[in-house]
């Protein structure tokens, strides 16, 4: 009996990992899943017999059992003319239960993968080692980044076809890393496998001694997921109001993030009425506290009007309340997106009429190119502005997957036609990467701290203070370019200062680290410093990685768009690695540096810099020269009568 008790205890204590698999047709996705199910005993004998039987007639693997048939609805379904979309599979190990969302790689791909990805905390992207990183792999990575799946596992399959070669694997790792640097992917792991032969799927393969990482199953089993849930920002959309009797009013709902305790000061949104939590009920009755992903019931101290659709949050940590928002929208219906139609939007537990008022651009899932379009068709993705018919309490999706997501429903057909992920709006509430208050961008026009007016400065110097901001990966040589530029300006008599990591981090930003919030604070200080310098007629040349476009926008806003000049120093990762004197890339590779843009953190490419230079193709002098010319043209007064020497 003790045996079985221990077993039960172990099974009750398992945690849950949801993942989605992505790969194009024939990369071996079904074979990989089949093997995971088979080896973890997620398959019953009678099912296996049926597959063994079918392998003889339909299989592609000779005498071996074709494990792909276990999961591959594809062939069967194609014959039956059934839509193939996301299928869910289950298996477990002693420590975890797994839910696989398996979406086949055919035309409907984007819609299906987005669906599977919406609840996943990991994605396995399959790559065929004999083909390398192909367009579809990039598409999968982009969707993973768009849906903010916290971690990516790139399974390089069919290693058996490539003689289990380390070089092949390394090259694929390199190609993928380079592409991924453009995306917002935080954790990426790579495993060389052969799904067919079983190498590195469940146990470590002896045929790839050069690989010292974990097998796929081991990785799935041990990867740390506890940090995925947002346990900070308490949010509970009210689902159902229970009035059991005159004295009991329970507000029921799923806690989407954060935690709530008896006695907490809360606010009901969008009305904004504050209240206090009286009781908390979990699934087993009254409790002191309830937290993210629990279905709970709350009662409040004061009788107020709370109804389905409202959101309860802490008084001092509220979501944005607004009727207008911007979102990335994935279109999922054969009827195109319409800018004139009224749709319904389901957000949390609220269902409200809404319009898509503007389509800013479409993103090509394969190339990431943006283009202006009039509409979105099935499987297309674009950035939209939405106008809701009522106030709604939401967060940016990057901060909160639950309160930042919504589905769009067609009123006539009732079909779910779109999936929307709310974006941060510059300056608005719900900042995440940039955690500083925005300044009026025109405040510099009337610098109170200076007795000299900009007009006077310009009259004397021929320019007003301005900032050239160089962004690029570590090792892109932006500092060297900045120094050349400094020399040019100095030589012609201008007052100029270079601000870069070295100057700022050794003093002004000494107390800061390198995570997103520290980077934000560091840049805030840079921006403020540059602003003061500019206000006093000094040219500031800044050279920073500044990996997030939102942050860079913020810098521009602080300094003032009119005197900000953004330069993207665009160099491939190999070039940067070569010019990384401090060996930072190597350290990041070894995991000694966390969140290093280009290796294990994102670098968001500037989409519309004032200027782009390519040190890998142009000399440093050319780069500096190009910037110099452009800046001269933009910020320096045209030769005036006064400067003409009579």
């Amino acid at each position: 009996m003790t045996n079985i008790d221990a077993l039960l205890e172990e099974n009750e204590a398992k945690d849950l990992l949801r993942f989605v698999t992505a790969g194009s047709v024939d990369d071996g996705k079904s074979t990989l899943i089949g093997r995971l199910l088979y080896e973890s005993k997620g398959i019953y004998e009678d099912q296996l017999e049926a597959v063994a039987q079918a392998s003889k007639t339909e299989g592609t693997t000779g005498d071996d059992i074709d494990l792909a048939l276990l999961t591959d609805g594809l062939r069967a379904e194609r014959e039956q003319g059934i839509t193939i979309d996301v299928a869910y599979r289950y298996f477990s190990t002693p420590s975890r239960k797994f839910i696989i969302a398996d979406s086949p790689g055919h035309e409907q791909y984007t819609r299906n993968m987005v669906t599977g990805a919406s609840t996943a905390s990991l994605v396995i992207i399959l790559v065929d080692a004999s083909k390398g990183i192909i367009t579809q792999s990039k598409r999968h990575a982009f969707i993973a980044s768009l849906l903010r799946i916290p971690r990516v596992l790139l399974a390089v399959n069919k290693m058996d076809l490539m003689d289990y070669s380390e070089d092949v694997f390394r090259e694929i790792v390199h190609d993928f890393t380079e592409f991924a640097a453009k995306l917002e992917l935080t954790e990426i792991d790579f495993i060389p496998v052969s799904a067919l032969k079983g190498d590195n799927v469940v146990s470590k393969s002896e045929r790839m001694p050069w690989y010292d990482g974990r097998s796929v199953l081991r990785h799935l089993d041990t990867v740390h997921i506890a940090g995925d849930r947002n346990l900070i920002d308490f949010r509970m959309p009210v689902q159902y109001v229970s009035r059991t009797n005159a004295s009991f009013r329970g507000y029921m709902g799923r806690i989407e993030s954060g935690a709530v305790h008896v006695g907490d000061a809360v606010v009901v949104l969008p009305s904004g009425v504050t209240n206090r939590v009286k009781e908390v009920f979990g699934p087993d009755g009254p409790t002191e506290t309830a937290f993210a992903s629990m279905s709970a019931t709350l009662t409040l101290e004061n009788e107020v009007d709370v109804s389905r659709g409202d959101v309860i949050s802490p008084v001092n940590n509220r979501p944005t309340v607004d009727r207008a928002l911007e979102a990335m929208v994935v279109w999922m219906d054969s009827d195109k997106l319409s800018l004139t139609k009224e749709y319904l939007v389901k957000h949390g537990t609220r269902l409200i009429p809404a319009r898509i008022t503007k389509l800013q651009y479409q993103v090509d899932v394969n190339t990431l190119h943006r283009s202006e379009v009039d509409s979105l068709s099935l499987n297309e993705i674009g950035r939209c502005e939405l106008e809701l018919s009522q106030l709604v309490a939401f967060d940016p999706y990057r901060k909160n997957r639950a309160t930042g997501s919504m589905i769009i429903i067609d009123r006539m057909t009732n079909r779910t036609v779109g999936a929307a992920m709310v974006l941060d709006r510059g300056g608005g509430a719900g900042r995440s990467q940039a955690n500083w208050e925005s300044f009026s961008s025109s405040s510099y026009l009337a610098p109170k701290a200076s007795g000299v007016s900009p007009v006077e400065r310009e009259a004397r110097d021929g320019y007003c203070g301005f900032t050239v901001f160089l962004t690029g990966l570590t090792g892109s040589r932006k500092r060297d370019i900045a120094l050349l530029l400094e020399r040019e300006f100095f030589d012609e008599g201008a007052s100029v200062v270079v601000l870069d990591g070295h100057t700022i981090r050794s003093g002004v930003g000494k107390d800061l680290g390198f995570d997103a919030s520290a980077r934000s604070e560091n840049l805030r200080r840079v921006a403020e410093t540059a602003r003061v310098l500019n206000d006093h007629g000094v040219i500031a040349i800044c050279a920073f990685v500044a990996p997030y476009s939102e942050l860079r926008d913020k810098v521009a806003e602080t300094i003032g768009e009119e005197r900000f000049f953004g330069v993207f120093v665009d160099a491939p990762v190999e070039y940067c690695r070569k010019h990384d004197a401090q060996g930072l890339y190597d350290k990041a590779d070894r995991g000694e540096i966390k969140s290093f843009p280009g290796v294990n953190a994102t670098y968001e490419f500037p989409t519309s810099p004032n200027l782009l230079v390519r040190p890998a193709e142009q000399s440093l002098e050319t780069c500096a020269g190009l910037i110099y010319t452009a800046v001269k043209k933009k910020f320096f007064k045209k030769p005036s009568l006064k400067s003409v020497d009579w």
Binding site: Y88, I99, L231, T244, G253, N414, A419
Partner: protein, 302 residues
């Protein structure tokens, strides 16, 4: 932060409760299909938890095929009375008058009349726009892609081409009049999860899930329990007492038993973890060809 962690069972529970509440809030007239089996028992418990301390705000509906195990009917009546649950029972009376039975008409015709037809009658007559079912995706291959909200047209047909994508936990329960949805709150549970939860929550289940001595005959390699005198014995067939239990319950002439000594929940769970046969193996209606489940679903079978 580990104090804020949830086990997989707690997560499944929370997710199911969320689904049940969502339907209760959004649909006009939901009903919960109650098949008396272990999955239904779990689903009912989840519904109770979802609305505690209040009552479950919708009735249970049992579609009685007239050939259920006697132990099931006894359990049903006792359980619902004890738990204060509103129970509705529906039988296809026309089929009953015609005398349709699994022996003379074959399992196909019989299940169509007493399950598929009967269910549609009950839903139409009750005017329900949403019906909860206890099906799980791990039960059978064709269920793997079933949605949590499964959309049915006004003829209760399931059109696999016309199902809605389900993203995050945002369910689209919009239907036009006459249309309905089937909702499967246990979609992500596996058979093992069900047993573990029954054990953890001490949920009562029909006693024949536990191994007992029962009168049985062997047919095509399957053990059929002779539950009452209506099972026509073939020449030479003599019921034998056997220690058996059932992994899933349905109509007794169509549900095979497994030989087992597992007379308690821990023993069943232990056995479960060791056996490598799926529970559906014992359901005869899946054997009418590979695509049969798909076909039945299209016609409105659960």
């Amino acid at each position: 932060m580990s104090e804020y962690s949830l086990s997989h069972l707690a997560q499944l529970e929370a997710e199911s409760i969320h689904i049940i509440r969502e339907v209760a809030a959004e649909c006009e007239k939901p009903v919960m299909l109650y098949s008396i089996g272990k999955d239904s028992s779990v689903m009912v418990r989840l519904a109770q938890k979802a609305f505690a301390p209040g009552p479950v705000p919708f009735p249970l509906l049992h579609v009685d095929t007239t050939y259920k195990f006697r132990a099931m009917i006894e359990f049903r009546d006792k359980f619902c009375a004890e738990q204060g649950l509103e129970l509705l029972v529906h039988t296809n009376e026309e089929a009953q008058l015609e005398g349709i039975n699994p022996f003379d008409h074959g399992s196909d015709k019989y299940t169509h009349a007493f399950k598929t037809e009967a269910l549609l009658q009950a839903i139409n007559r009750g005017g329900y726009d949403a019906a909860f079912g206890g099906a799980r995706r791990d039960e059978e291959k064709s269920r793997a892609k079933e949605r949590v909200y499964s959309f049915r047209d006004r003829f209760h047909q399931w059109d696999p081409k016309n199902q809605r994508p389900e993203l995050w936990n945002l369910y689209n329960g919009r239907v036009s009049s006459g249309e309905s949805i089937r909702v499967f709150p246990l979609s992500n549970w596996t058979e093992l999860d069900i047993w573990l939860y029954i054990y953890k929550e001490q949920i009562p289940i029909v006693p024949i899930y536990y191994a007992q001595k029962q009168p049985c005959v062997m047919r095509d390699g399957r053990i059929i329990m002779v539950d009452d005198g209506r099972l026509p014995l073939k020449p030479g067939e003599e019921p034998q007492m056997k220690m058996v239990r059932f992994r899933s319950l349905g109509c007794y002439p169509l549900t095979a038993a497994t030989e087992s000594e597992a007379h308690s929940l821990p023993l069943i769970i232990e056995e479960m973890m060791l056996t490598r046969k799926s529970e559906r193996e014992n359901r005869m209606i899946d054997y009418d060809g590979n695509a049969s489940m798909e076909q039945k679903k299209r016609e409105g079978y659960f």
